[in-house]
């Protein structure tokens, strides 16, 4: 596809690299399209389609600095016309010339380096970067979504909303489909491309008096696999569970966390697992006296927390795309291949998120961030959530968590709320709905109190789904989950 401005993203990358005068240059051209529908109280509230086109140029200046040193200038601009490409390149070069040497300065990856980190990508590396059989080639037009993706969904949703209205329930929710095509080129010859579909549906059902509420959500890549009527039926069952209301006080409860709640807690743990700050002694993964806790056992359960750009159904970019440097990301790492990484392996901390620079600072292997997360047990035949409920003596069953914020980074203590359904399970059955709670819990501490880990399934993190869409998690049974106070919210 040629953009309205006349250049395809591939041509934009080529023109920007051709215009570059700096010692090295990285160009990232991205085309994003999005379509969404939102509804509340059984009717539409907002909707829209959007398209954007972003060009990021990273100029690297190795002159005027000592051996091995370099400075970088980053300029990102939307809607660049062909006649503006050179201007963006020059802006980045001026920024690089003004900048002091970058701590993370390094050589850019070349085509031959593809596969040099982790090994799993080696057989997929080509002279122009990664080949991925699920992805179109470099020269193919960028992918694009549009409102038609939601046409069949909207028709089914309309029927579902009318059915809910007739049954005295109110439905609220959101459906969104995004497609981003990323084209990465470097002056060292790397050309990599990744098309990322991201979709989700969230559905919230409430009783007519708004006193009972239930939620479900699903991530999807193409919307053909969304059963909105089925989701609504599941919520209707949960609203029925809530017809018996039970008041319970704050306290520590054995608690069954569904996959979405596990995803929210472990996603925050993942985001907090940076190598640099751990090595500096200021995170929960710092070892007192110096170093990190890598190698330390965090859970008695044989659980593994991992990311893999080629995980089935959760595929994400298999190479580093860094628009800016940060504690554990580096613009100098652009194009480095990503491979399957275990952050926690069989219960022990195995790796921390790092750039090449922060890995060196921390004395750890280079393991950059990857845009998906899986948590699973290696125990034989892990149970489904329904089976875990059936074998429960007395425990709380949560629907999801909300408004999660860090309270204490020393322990990674998080606070937040239960939301849209807390149920009491007694003798293997749900016996009613309990009031909501504010919790104060650490996901790291929770790993040490896992009583049971179920079967891993794809899930949508309720809290972090805006930013982190690709997760597979099990339900877990936690000993003494700390419900700090009662919330009046229903």
């Amino acid at each position: 596809m040629t953009t309205a401005s006349g250049y395809s993203p591939q041509e934009t990358v080529a023109r920007a690299l051709a215009a570059a005068r700096s010692d090295d240059c990285v160009v990232i051209a991205e085309e994003t399209s999005s379509a969404n529908l939102r509804w509340a109280g059984n009717t539409l509230t907002t909707n829209g389609v959007s398209a954007s086109r972003q060009l990021t140029v990273i100029a690297i200046d190795r002159h005027g600095h000592g051996p091995g040193q370099a400075s970088a200038g980053v300029v990102s601009r939307a809607g660049v016309r062909p006649d503006q490409i050179e201007d963006v390149v020059r802006q980045a070069e001026r920024a690089a010339a003004e900048a002091t040497p970058a701590e993370d300065a390094d050589e850019l990856a070349g085509p031959e380096q593809a596969g040099s980190f982790g090994g799993e990508n080696r057989d997929q590396a080509g002279s122009f970067g990664l080949k991925n059989t699920d992805q179109p080639g470099w020269d193919s037009p960028p992918a694009r979504t549009e409102i038609g993706v939601l046409r069949d969904f909207a028709a089914t949703l309309g029927e579902t909303l009318r059915a809910a209205q007739a049954a005295g329930r109110k439905l609220y929710g959101f459906a969104e489909h995004d497609l981003t095509s990323t084209f990465l080129g470097t002056s060292t010859g790397v050309r990599q491309r990744h098309d990322q579909p991201t979709g989700r549906v969230e559905l919230n059902a409430k009783s007519a008096d708004l006193e009972r509420s239930a939620w479900t959500g699903a991530a999807t890549r193409e919307f053909t696999d969304v059963d909105v009527a089925g989701l609504a039926a599941g919520l209707a069952e949960r609203l029925d569970w809530a017809k018996r209301a039970i008041s319970l006080p704050a306290g520590q409860y054995e608690t069954l966390l569904p996959p979405t709640a596990v995803a929210d807690l472990l996603t925050y743990l993942y985001w907090s697992a940076g190598a640099k700050e751990a090595a500096e002694g200021r995170t929960v993964f710092s070892k007192p006296g110096g170093g990190t806790r890598v190698g330390e056992r965090l859970s008695a359960q044989p659980v593994t927390l991992s990311s893999d750009p080629r995980a089935p159904g959760l595929a994400s970019a298999p190479f580093v795309v860094a628009h800016a440097s940060g504690s554990d990301s580096s613009v100098f790492d652009n194009g480095l291949p990503l491979s399957a990484t275990s952050w926690i392996s069989e219960g022990s901390l195995a790796a921390l998120i790092s750039s090449r620079h922060s890995a060196e600072v921390a004395g750890l292997a280079v393991t950059p961030a990857i845009d998906n997360l899986t948590f699973a047990t290696s125990a034989a035949a892990p149970p489904a959530l329904a089976d875990m409920i059936a074998t429960t003596g007395r425990a709380l069953l949560l629907t999801c968590l909300w408004y999660i914020r860090e309270v204490d980074s020393q322990t990674l203590l998080l606070t937040g709320l239960t939301r849209d359904g807390v149920y009491l399970v007694e003798d293997g059955e749900v016996v009613g709905a309990v009031n909501n709670f504010r919790f104060n819990e650490s996901p790291v501490g929770m790993l040490g109190r896992l009583l049971e880990v179920g079967a891993t399934v794809p899930t949508l993190p309720r809290e972090w789904g805006d930013y982190f869409n690709r997760a597979a998690m099990p339900p877990v049974r936690v000993e003494g989950f700390n419900m700090s106070s009662v919330s009046q919210a229903s």
């Binding site: 309205a4 999005s34 529908l37 509804w39 509340a40 059984n42 009717t43 539409l44 907002t46 909707n47 829209g48 389609v49 959007s50 954007s52 970088a72 980053v74 300029v75 939307a78 809607g79 016309r81 920024a95 003004e98 900048a99 002091t100 970058a102 701590e103 993370d104 409102i147 309309g158 109110k170 609220y172 959101f174 969230e202 559905l203 708004l210 939620w215 640099k276 500096e280 002694g281 710092s286 070892k287 007192p288 800016a324 940060g326 909300w402 408004y403 914020r405 860090e406 309270v407 204490d408 020393q410 322990t411 203590l413 939301r419 104060n440 805006d466 700390n482 009662v486 009046q488 919210a489």
Partner: protein, 509 residues
Amino acid sequence: MDDHRPGIDPEFTALPLRDLADAALAQAKSLGAQHADFRAERTRSQHIGLSDGNPQTLIDADDSGLAVRVIVDGTWGFASAVDLTTDAAALAAREAIEVAKVAATINTEPIELAPEPAYGDVTWVSAYEIDPFTVSAADKVALLAQWSNTLLAHAAVSHVDASLQQVRECKFYSDGVTTATQQRIRLQPALTAVAVSDDGRFDTMRTLAPPVGRGYEFLTPNPLRGGAGWDFEAELAELPELLAAKLGAPSVEPGRYDLVIDPSNLWLVIHESIGHATELDRALGYEAAYAGTSFATLDKLGSLQYGSGIMHVTGDRTAEHGLATIGYDDEGVAGQSWDLITDGILSGYQLDRRMALLKGFGRSNGCSFSDGPGHMPLQRMANVSLEPAAGGPSTEDLIAGVDNGIYILGDKSWSIDMQRYNFQFTGQRFVKIKNGRLAGQLRDVAYQATTTDFWGSMEAVGGPQTYVLGGAFNCGKGQPGQVAPVSHGCPAALMRGVRILNTAEEGAK
């Protein structure tokens, strides 16, 4: 536009803005839209981050695009495009019509908008002196590095994070009767010092400087310009000792305490427990599946006892240097100021044009905002502020009235439930109050309360001399998620008998 204010970015005004609007609005009308409005936006932003005085992050971004919103047979349709051409504007109008047709299958409430006067062709620019984008990045990095090194020179400081975010937001809006061209400048500086002890304990302390709707003069106050800035030198001079004292402070004993809350902490409680709770779209349930609803439902307007009788809260989009201040909102409604809580009673809401008509308010109070051309406008938060007491007490006077309490400064952790009842906050510093005097810092403090109990416990508010405009760059709401900048002014305040938790004990349970 005030004469003393700088003009709008000439690169933005040089765009064919009116041609784009004409193309979009004409296309929408020709295809049957009962209403159409058009926006074109350009937002420059720069983020600078330093770690231990060394540059770590420096990114310049320049986002632009256009948006068309229509009402077709009572249903919204919205589309945006990145190219600022008349062809792209007309195409976006056609796409918005198509979206409305697809969405009509799930719409049961016809959309109508409250009337608003026509303002013609108007211009508005926020109040600032120095556009931060006229200052070189090297100068900004050098200033942040100098400040970082000031902190690092102290033995108690192990690490320093420094950051500076700057935004120049240009918006063009037209609905055929009002055409508004506007520009806002804002920036957010922050330095965080980290102390790590030999036994592995660590703690942090961040500067109290708020994000502001000002220019670069905020970082470099000059008495010749009226000194309209933050005194970073003074704050950085005391930060290391304060951090060292915090790391060595005793852990708080949980229980109920009287609290004197500094504006640097209280603004966030206002934001979460009043600002969001008085958004009418929440009260009506439009955010029920995501951001949540509100306990302050419409049937309680005029009767809900929100807090003590000394509580008076306003909403406004007019306060000078306010982050939510604007001349005209994203529906062409002029900026206004109004009451939200009067003498402790719920007395108003934040509105957009649709809700204003739907619920009989007559006119919108101008709270429609979109964070960029790619998103449909939502009702977003105005500056929501707690009024000081005329001739009221100083912070020292408030502290003098407490036998056993805690003085809390700076915001840190925050969380509130989906109906805005139950909240928990921490802060940057907690100072014990004993018999009316400060008696050293405490650690591991969080306070937890229910909104109406908390505001009902407010015994006194400080005078105007204690008033500070705080706020945030990144208030989140809506799906797709949008961020909005917003300010909250408040005086220091005295609350009686608030529940204090020990966060170390909470983590050990």
